[in-house]
Amino acid sequence: MNIQRFTTIFKQDGFWLMLHFLLRDALALSLLAFAGLMTIEGLMPGFVSGHLNLAKVLFAIALLFFAFIGIGQQPAFAKATAWQGKTSKWLITGLLFWSSLLILNSLIKFPLYAIVITFLLTAVIGKLLYDEFFTK
């Protein structure tokens, strides 16, 4: 009787929706934590990697991501339309600012001209990739 009750949970849309939102929250927290760890690693190279295997952390985040995508294939999401919202400008600005600081920090021991060239090249390549994948 209990097993039957347990298995009927998996047939309820509410369960899959709840799991979907939890995975979204877990992904957000994981990516935030990973960003923090990469920032510390940038300030003190070898400090984080000496305590944690960052490859395993990335692997765990990838697993969460694929679970998030996989859950989205459930019938509970069949009626949902493609997401039509806009990404927060503050989020994009914040990400770009943080990425720029990390890149500059990794170049700190290079000569000034090398820093300028590398930074500009990174920005150009980033813009080209963004135009290719995110705009039509």
């Binding site: 309820q12 849309d13 509410g14 369960f15 929706l17 709840m18 979907h20 939102f21 939890l22 929250d25 877990a26 927290l29 934590a33 300030l43 003190m44 190279p45 400090f47 305590h51 944690l52 999401f77 009626k79 949902a80 339309t81 039509q84 700190i108 021991k109």
Partner: protein
């Protein structure tokens, strides 16, 4: 008509509870990481069934008579010596766990479990070499580059070890071995080409022949040569071997300051010996290696030996860790 995703009302309470638990889990993980950072530990291991395995971080298991004991068969009353190289010398606690070989114990009729103890001393591995004959003459070969010299070439620092030139792993290994940055000499390609390339110098490497040790409390000098520490009888002889460089500083107290604990036996199916002891008294002594001696009163066979160095959780150790972090950040940005 657009359909947006939302959780049905019956599931919202469960979602909120699960969300709180998720945040608590991440907070706990962050706190655990902070604990690992503020109170670091170091674990070392030796697998006597796989003595050549690369995962063996405890070095050179041997008897007090220099017999090789890397298979784990320990004669009665023979101290088993192993060297434990550490990144930091100021840990507070030492814990040892030795798993015995059950095949050995089952093969012996009327076997009774031996009793024994583990002791630790701290210095450089070269300090524990046997004392050789004193050197009574000035160094006959006073070339600038010789065994024991430190050279810089390209982006690396190298150590001359006999006829080998060996790269030093990183700056922390250089400093842990007691070397002075002022002693590093720039080398040309010709200088480097005169030597064969050797293995990378890692934590716990024994200082090579030609290294001069200086006992800071007795003002005695020693030269490492052919696996022995040879006393250098006077200052002019010492200076002829140093040639303006700094000696590796050691302390005679490394022979006499010993910490230890009595091994206790436990375990249901596989018996293991374990004990724990504070090692704060060893922290001030110079050196990058703990020499661990384990002695039991009867013959025994070991399977694995696990050692852990940890910090006592207190404000003082936390401040030391924070200070180390600050120094590390300043060092990275060139201060």
């Amino acid at each position: 008509m657009t359909h947006t995703l939302s959780i049905p009302k019956p599931w919202q309470a469960r979602y909120n509870i699960a969300r709180v638990l998720l945040v608590l889990a991440f907070t706990f993980a962050a706190a655990y990481f902070a604990f690992l950072v503020l109170f670091p530990s170091q674990s070392l291991v030796f697998d006597f069934k796989n003595p050549q395995a690369s995962k063996n971080t405890l070095l050179d298991p041997r008897g007090a008579d220099d017999s090789i004991l890397d298979k784990g068969n320990i004669p009665a009353l023979m101290p088993l010596l192993v060297d434990a190289p550490v990144m930091r010398g100021d840990y507070s606690l030492f814990h040892i766990n030795i798993l015995t070989d059950s095949k050995f114990t089952k093969s012996k009729a009327n076997f009774t479990w031996p009793t024994g103890e583990t002791t630790l001393r701290k210095s450089y591995r070269a300090f524990f070499l046997p004392i050789g004959s004193p050197i009574t003459e000035i160094n006959p070969n006073q070339t600038a580059i010789h065994s024991g010299s430190l050279l810089s070439f390209a982006d690396g620092v190298f150590l001359i070890d006999g006829n080998l030139v060996r790269p030093i792993g990183d700056a922390s290994i250089f400093e842990n071995l007691g070397y002075d940055w002022d002693d590093v000499m720039p080398a040309s390609e010709e200088d480097m080409g005169a030597y064969e390339k050797g293995k990378i110098v890692t934590l716990g490497n024994i200082h090579p022949d030609g290294t001069v040790l200086h006992e800071i409390d007795t003002d005695a000098y020693f030269l490492i040569r052919d696996g022995e520490k040879h006393p250098l009888l006077n200052k002019s002889i010492s200076q002829s071997y140093l040639q303006g460089t700094h000696p590796i500083e050691i302390s005679s107290a490394s022979s006499t300051v010993i910490q230890g604990c009595i091994l206790t036996i436990s375990g249901l199916f596989s018996k293991n010996y374990a004990c724990e002891t504070p090692i704060d008294a060893l922290a001030p002594l110079p050196g990058d290696t703990f020499q661990i001696s384990t002695q039991l009163d009867q013959e025994i066979a070991f399977q694995t030996m696990d050692i852990e160095f940890t910090d006592t959780v207190n404000i003082k150790n936390m401040r030391v860790s924070l200070s180390t972090i600050k120094q590390r950040i300043l060092a990275h940005y060139g201060q």
